[in-house]
């Protein structure tokens, strides 16, 4: 048993860190977040050249065929860099859903262009009730067309096609299809733009059944947790660096235990989130029995931890932490959008409860 990174995994992670630091430093993040879509075509092409757009997908569709642990490491570094734009929406979200639900022909049509870096995509799930329970989805396709509204769809404005989750199937809809209207929602996270999409008799192509959706969403959820881990690590690093340098009462503030213990807790929360994220990725890769619980545990813990780490990081920075110029709030904003995406901690605790408490009741009754 070995719960550390292999040499090639470590290399992938190091390379990703170097790549993002070189191609998307914080100045670039800040430039892109002020644009309408936070998307940059040149950056996207470079990401695709690295093979990142096909990282976990089969080679027959132009993917690299690596595992979920490798995806986890890439997403951790993307999160650390606060990578703006549609990478998450396209690859571990839309790509993973297509890969889980679609037939080989359909994958050639939709997954292959994602792998090649030629297409961007996203998934439209939430409706006005903002519930991540599939049973709360109302939208249903009628004669191959969709009507209704989807909310909080990330990066929809730069998507070439949108994967729409309806009651009676999963549909690919061209962003130029008739009757579609995409309008921005003013989300807190400026690096990942959110959209409202209205459909009016919009034609869609059914790409698969909802029964296989959970697998794709589990991959997306785990990828998002890994992003959060990277963001937490960066917040911790910035904060510790500041606590060493900033002086009050003639001493670095990091010498005071009230400050030091905040940093220690940030470390504990970051490391624990990382353990849970890596375990979930490994469990998905191995189809372990506890994979779904592991994903919920990771999302539950990291959703709360990312917010708490941000709270502590801002507090330790004092007045500086409350300024626009300091980067901590950018991660804090991302943490909020990721906290609610795919269910917040309350949602996942209830999911865990169903699996471990209600399952227990059934066992007790049958015994």
């Amino acid at each position: 048993m070995q719960f550390g990174l292999s040499e090639s995994q470590q290399m992938l992670k190091d390379n990703a860190r170097k790549f993002f630091a070189g191609e998307c430093p914080m100045e670039e993040v800040r430039r892109l977040m002020e644009t309408e879509t936070a998307y940059d075509e040149t950056l996207w092409k470079k990401i695709a050249e690295q093979g990142y757009t096909g990282i976990i997908f089969p080679e027959e569709y132009g993917g690299v065929g690596l595992g979920k642990v490798e995806l986890a490491l890439l997403m951790e570094e993307a999160g650390r860099a606060l990578l703006p734009g549609p990478f998450f929406s396209t690859v571990p979200l839309a790509g993973a859903v297509i890969d889980s639900v679609a037939s080989p022909e359909t994958k050639k049509k939709y997954l292959a262009p994602i792998c090649a870096g030629d297409a961007r995509s996203t998934v439209a799930f939430l409706e006005a009730n903002a519930s991540w329970n599939f049973v709360d989805i109302h939208m249903s396709a009628v004669n191959g067309t969709l009507t209704g509204e989807k909310l909080f769809v990330p990066d929809a404005a730069v998507a070439d096609f949108i994967i729409v989750i309806a009651r009676n199937g999963i549909f690919a809809v061209s962003s130029k299809a008739s009757g579609i209207k995409i309008s921005p929602m003013a989300g807190m996270d400026l690096t990942r733009k959110l959209y409202r999409i209205e459909f009016q008799n919009t034609p869609g192509e059914k790409i698969g059944d909802v029964s296989a959706l959970a697998e794709g969403l589990d991959i997306a959820t785990t990828a998002l947790v890994c992003e959060l881990v990277g963001g937490m690590q960066r917040t911790l690093d910035i904060t510790v660096e500041y606590a060493k340098m900033r002086k009050q009462f003639g001493k670095p503030i990091g010498m005071f235990q009230a400050v030091q213990h905040q940093c220690a807790d940030m470390y504990l929360e970051t490391e624990s989130s990382r353990s849970a994220a890596y375990y979930a990725a490994w469990a998905l890769e191995e189809n372990a029995l506890d994979a779904s619980v592991a994903v919920s545990i990771a999302k539950m813990y990291a959703s709360d931890a990312a917010r708490t780490v941000g709270n502590r990081g801002i507090q330790v920075h004092g007045g500086m932490g409350f300024t626009w110029e300091n980067d901590v709030h950018l991660y804090y904003r991302r943490a909020k959008s990721s906290e609610t995406a795919f269910g917040d901690s309350t949602f996942h605790r209830e999911r865990i409860a169903r699996l471990v408490i209600d399952a227990d009741e059934r066992l007790t009754k049958s015994a």
Binding site: G4, M255, Y267, L268, E271, A276, M300, Y301
Partner: protein, 395 residues
């Protein structure tokens, strides 16, 4: 990353399983609740059996009677022991902490003299570290050892000594030089607890039991040959013992916690909240799920730490996050239990309505000690701040 067991690990586990199946006592349940004074011979006999089977100290090197087990194998060992609900070993401090320290720092004579009897539980060991005025600031300890010919003469007082009442030998940290900075004047002595001038008194703790002792030393003569390591190098010897403490302690906790949360979930179907089973109360469900999740994360944290130690070869200061994590989690677990049981939670062992004969009311009180013993949460956070994150020392 590969969380499946290797062939060697599977072999180790299977061999252990077979041995445990044939040898683990079936009547531990009858002894478990009895006072340690009564059950101690039973625990000695159990350790003797493990020793004869070659399972008493799997982590020790083979030449000292161990199996040279990797950290993962040690973790498997404790998991299997917990799985079959094996009794604890009588000489747990000797096996877990003091034996490894003697192996690391002892002379050949000391190893020959002490190691076999630690393994067989013929000699029980205790640890004389904390003092009334030296807890977190251990290096400030005052118990003094003065060289007189070929003997040290020891005077002072130790506190919070587990197994003091039954200990045959004690790893004692003493001050041998008071004219140098506090960390540089310490030494470690191996003391025969039957020496004249050693007095052991029970220390009654807030749970009502006396797990720990106070030990008084008045002109106790200790042969100079019983110095462990070099004179005035006691701080390094003591720290190495403390590292073993933080490292090995956490490994066995996952299954114990998992058993506790499983039992609590079972009980949550029986206890009522507002006329419904607590298991149906949304807030209780949230809290149980949180606790269940953290117990899993505790295990994943440990596995990652083991892999890191295996790769780097040394137990590092990051062991402090395990200590903080399990001790605070255990307190939260007990708190949730109390919320589920309501007024029944407070009933002590012996009361006919006590939940599980009072193990939860006991646990509620006992876990307050978890964030204090083996280094307080505050000290652990200082260690992370300074040694892991590189922040300037605060004291």
């Amino acid at each position: 990353m590969n969380l499946n067991l290797t062939t060697e690990e599977t072999k180790f586990r299977d061999e252990l399983r077979i041995w445990l199946e044939a040898n683990v006592p079936k009547d531990w349940g009858e002894w478990r609740e009895k006072p340690l004074e009564e059950s101690f011979p039973y625990l000695r006999a159990w350790q003797r059996k493990l020793y004869e089977g070659g399972w008493a100290a799997v982590s020790w090197p083979k030449e000292y009677g161990g199996r040279g087990a990797t950290l993962m194998e040690q973790s498997l060992f404790w998991e299997e022991m917990a799985r079959v609900e094996a009794p604890p070993m009588a000489n747990s401090l000797g096996l877990g902490l003091i034996g490894p320290t003697i192996i690391a720092y002892g002379t050949d004579e000391q190893k020959k003299r002490f190691i076999p009897k630690i393994l067989s539980a013929e000699e029980i060991w205790c640890q004389g570290f904390s003092e009334p005025n030296a807890g977190s600031d251990l290096a400030a300890l005052q118990t003094e050892a003065r060289l007189d010919g070929d003997h040290y003469v020891v005077n002072g007082q130790k506190v919070w000594t587990s197994y003091g009442w039954i200990g045959d030998w004690c790893e004692l940290v003493v001050r041998t030089d008071s004219n140098v900075p506090k960390h540089k004047g310490l030494s470690v002595l191996l003391i025969d607890m039957k020496s004249p001038g050693v007095e052991v008194r029970p220390l009654k703790q807030m749970t009502g039991e006396s797990e720990f002792n106070e030990i008084f030393f008045r002109d106790v003569r200790v042969p100079a040959a019983n110095l462990l390591g070099k004179v005035n190098d006691g701080w390094n010897v003591a720290v190495s013992t403390l590292m073993y403490e933080r490292g090995s302690y956490g490994a066995r906790l996952h299954l114990i916690f998992k058993r506790a949360i499983t039992r609590l979930i079972e009980l949550s179907h029986k206890f009522q909240k507002d006329g419904h089973p607590a298991a149906q109360d949304p807030i209780t469900r949230q809290k149980l799920a949180q606790c269940y999740a953290e117990i899993e994360i505790m295990r994943w944290n440990q596995l990652r730490a083991f892999s890191r130690v295996t790769a780097t070869g040394v137990p590092g200061p990051e062991g402090s996050i395990q200590k903080i994590f399990w001790s605070e989690l255990n307190q939260r677990l007990q708190q949730i239990a109390q919320e589920i049981f309501g007024p029944y939670g407070q009933l002590l062992a012996g009361d006919q309505d006590a939940v599980d004969n009072g193990i939860w009311s006991y646990g509620y009180l006992r876990t307050r000690g978890n964030t204090i013993e083996a280094g307080t949460s505050e000290v652990q956070r200082n260690i992370i701040g300074h040694f892991v994150l590189g922040l300037p020392r605060s004291y």
